[in-house]
Symmetry: none
Subunit: 221 residues, 2 copies
DNA sequence: TGATCCACGTCAGCAATTTGTCAGGTTGAT
DNA sequence: ATCAACCTGACAAATTGCTGACGTGGATCA
């Protein structure tokens, strides 16, 4: 999953970015409001982590402009501790959650999982599709209850597909969210990756929609 | 909107209940875990406000049982416990949001609005015409309930025609929207394509309006 | 430092599908 | 009847995706 991190404090930004990458996300970081607005408005992220205290355009203003433009991406805002008025403003401006500074990185990750799964319409942080179960908190994937070891790229692929189960996901979209770069389809690396995942998790988990992309059927009644 | 409030402290419960009613909600209040679980499992609420510190069955256990039973109702957790680890637990157990005590009633209302807003709108876009049904999310087309495999061009043709069902669509328009190029009609590729779709989905789905274009009759009551 | 393993990209070959073209055949309006 | 519009079956070319094999670079450990 691809995230946008908006944080002007370089030190905090670096720390958070490292933790997010370790948790398996593809992360892009910007340090000011204008850049944040542009990226959030033109690119497609799984979620955005937005610091309110920004130089230049204020974080709240950025968020409002995104929402005004119809962007529904989940947004987690970082706020100074204590001011409930600011929190209420943030939530009513369209934030999906807030986290007061300073925070534990574990809580950031949990809240991130929360808003991401909420935006996908899930209620639990475990996702089941056919014989396969994904536990995001433990970064664990099981096949008929048996744990399966996946490489980082394989895990990201599975996680993204399960989050978007029930709909066709294009190769371009997978490129962006698994690798981070959205371009150069001069290679079949993605197809090879899909093949490797199929070998581990069974051939019927991921269906091919020739000419369109891939689909993990939704098995939720 | 109908809410369930789960809070064992009668005094807090009464205050919150009054505020919620003032904000226009219909509120039902219960004071222990068992009752909460039963109500939440059998009734249909717009959202549930759940205190974690309950006598009897713990709030977290209640929440987990709801989620295990497939209840996706938005849940807002209240707790006095401040440790980040327990907050992480609550969120990962499937809570949609979390509010630490003590809280301002304004913030409760804002978060409530937020989770309710989020839970709305996850319907998959479907179009029905005669015996044919189009599910755009899954890019799936079914004929009398039986899935039919369509090629990319065939799918685009069907999708466009169903989107504009009830009116005649010219060949030029189809050329532009299926192929992209609105080129000269020097080939009969489009006619061949229509023929292939008819073979798969039945001859009566697409009517020919000789000299004008094609028509999918609107069968919406 | 060197041996080893693993993740992952690349490549070539293959099989299946897709799709444009074309050569008649039908249909319907006038 | 005539003619343009449209349909159909067949075929070949192009596209797409899968697979096994191989190579490279980084991490780990003796």
């Amino acid at each position: 999953m691809r995230l946008l991190l908006v944080e002007d404090d370089r030190r905090i930004a670096a720390d958070v970015e490292r933790a997010l990458r370790a948790a398996g996300y593809v992360v892009e970081t910007v340090h000011n409001g204008e850049e944040a607005w542009f990226r959030g408005d033109t690119e497609d992220y799984g979620a955005i982590i937005l610091d309110l205290g920004l130089p230049g355009m204020d974080g709240l203003a950025v968020l409002k402009r995104w929402r005004a433009n119809g962007r529904t991406v989940p947004v987690l805002i970082l706020t100074a501790r204590g001011s409930w008025a600011e929190r209420v403003d943030g939530i009513d401006a369209g934030a999906d959650d807030y986290l007061p500074k300073p925070f534990r990185i574990e809580e950031l990750l949990a809240r991130l999982r929360s808003i991401v799964r909420r935006s996908a319409g899930h209620a639990s942080s475990r996702i089941v599709a056919g014989d396969v179960e994904l536990d995001e908190r433990q970064m664990k994937v099981t096949l008929r209850g048996v744990p399966v070891a996946l490489s980082p790229l394989e895990y990201r692929l599975v996680a993204f597909l399960l989050h978007h189960r029930g709909r066709v996901v294009s190769q371009q979209e997978l490129d962006e969210n698994v690798y981070g770069h959205g371009e150069d389809h001069e290679s079949n690396a993605l197809e090879v990756l899909v093949g490797r995942v199929r070998k581990k998790l069974g051939a019927d988990l991921i269906e091919t929609r020739r000419g369109f992309g891939y689909l993990v059927p939704d098995t939720t009644p």
